[in-house]
Symmetry: none
Subunit: 251 residues, 2 copies
Amino acid sequence: MPRLSELDELVVVLVRPRNPLNIGAAARAMSNFGAHRLRLVNAYAPGFREARSAVGASDLLNHAEEYKTLAEAVADCALVVGTTAVRNRVLQQPVQRLDEQAGKTIRRQLQSARVAVLFGSEKIGLTNRDFSHCHWLLNIPTSQENISMNLGQAVAVCLYELARIEVEQSDPQPPVSEDEKPATAGTTEQITDGLLEALRMSGYVKPGTEAMFEKKARRLILHFKLQAYDAKLLLGMVRQIVWKLRQADKR
Amino acid sequence: MPRLSELDELVVVLVRPRNPLNIGAAARAMSNFGAHRLRLVNAYAPGFREARSAVGASDLLNHAEEYKTLAEAVADCALVVGTTAVRNRVLQQPVQRLDEQAGKTIRRQLQSARVAVLFGSEKIGLTNRDFSHCHWLLNIPTSQENISMNLGQAVAVCLYELARIEVEQSDPQPPVSEDEKPATAGTTEQITDGLLEALRMSGYVKPGTEAMFEKKARRLILHFKLQAYDAKLLLGMVRQIVWKLRQADKR
């Protein structure tokens, strides 16, 4: 199984975040997807304090760096990308969709340099001034009905996509256990026989219709595309039912 | 620019959710990515009430459906997929990664039938009993450092991926007859019930092992991947057998 790519050189920048829950959620998503560098620009101080003191606040949150200006926060990054909910905004910067070029471009850049991805405040997002720090803008494609994403969720989706991309090599198939191998035709036929017997004994198959039901039952069992383990299990069940029906008949 | 796919037939099922913020966040992510059907199983009532009364609670949240059991919540779905944080869990069900086959499989199924994706409670996720209702399990690939995702973020990431994928339109699917459509979870559950009844009456299930056999039988029937016609046929067979066993018991 391919391992998740490392997002070591990725810097997540929250610009003017207010809600401690959102700051915590961003940090949690980062640790889910292997990103470590969290920076905050002009965070609302009580909110940040509260996020840090929350139960289970991560190491990552405790090591978050605070900056007064966006310029300082991205100073060591070779690529700065702002996020925007608006797709066709009339802007100086080009907008790329996360699922098209944006993710790949960022990942390629990360191989040799540090990249900052900026997320704006919950209310107004990034300003045009913030955008002016960006090489280009990134848009998460959403339904037109509701383009405004929750901050923590937007961070999670971006990081998922960035972590996902490298993972495109094909997986070697894991070896299949005996139980998972397809059942043999012999076993499926035994199941079919048992089922037919049970159906005859319970009066489902009327005299004269045996031939039709035999085909019908066999086709049914084949459709199951049974694995070896399941076939053994089913055969045992069917046989027990047949046994019970016979007992009942004898009485 | 490819447009977002419609996730009209997708059902997001939250199983035993507690935190109103998470329920609200799941609903918000759904509206971001064009999914509309939210169902809750055994939701913590005060949490759900609070989520509904929150400012800006969406229409989607107000139309969310509540169920007492998972079986009822997925009864009209042809494919039921559980989410799990654990990748190599020792489970009966196969686990697929969201970024590999899982997303494509779900999207393809959505073209002809309803699909349920289940998310467990914040604390313990989905139980083995919940899993026994699932055809297979879905894993969001995460860093090994922290595999546990926030509920709302997990929903957002799954829906982003499902909306993102371009399902090959090149070969138009031939129209599928009603008989060939996948059986609904409701019908397969009826078959499971009947099989269990037959197994109980024939002494295959010993007292005290009911719970284990319930999961085992449900999983077995799910493995059959029944088409609607076959499911109807099998249900009739099972019911007749049960009827006969009852007759026998009476004597």
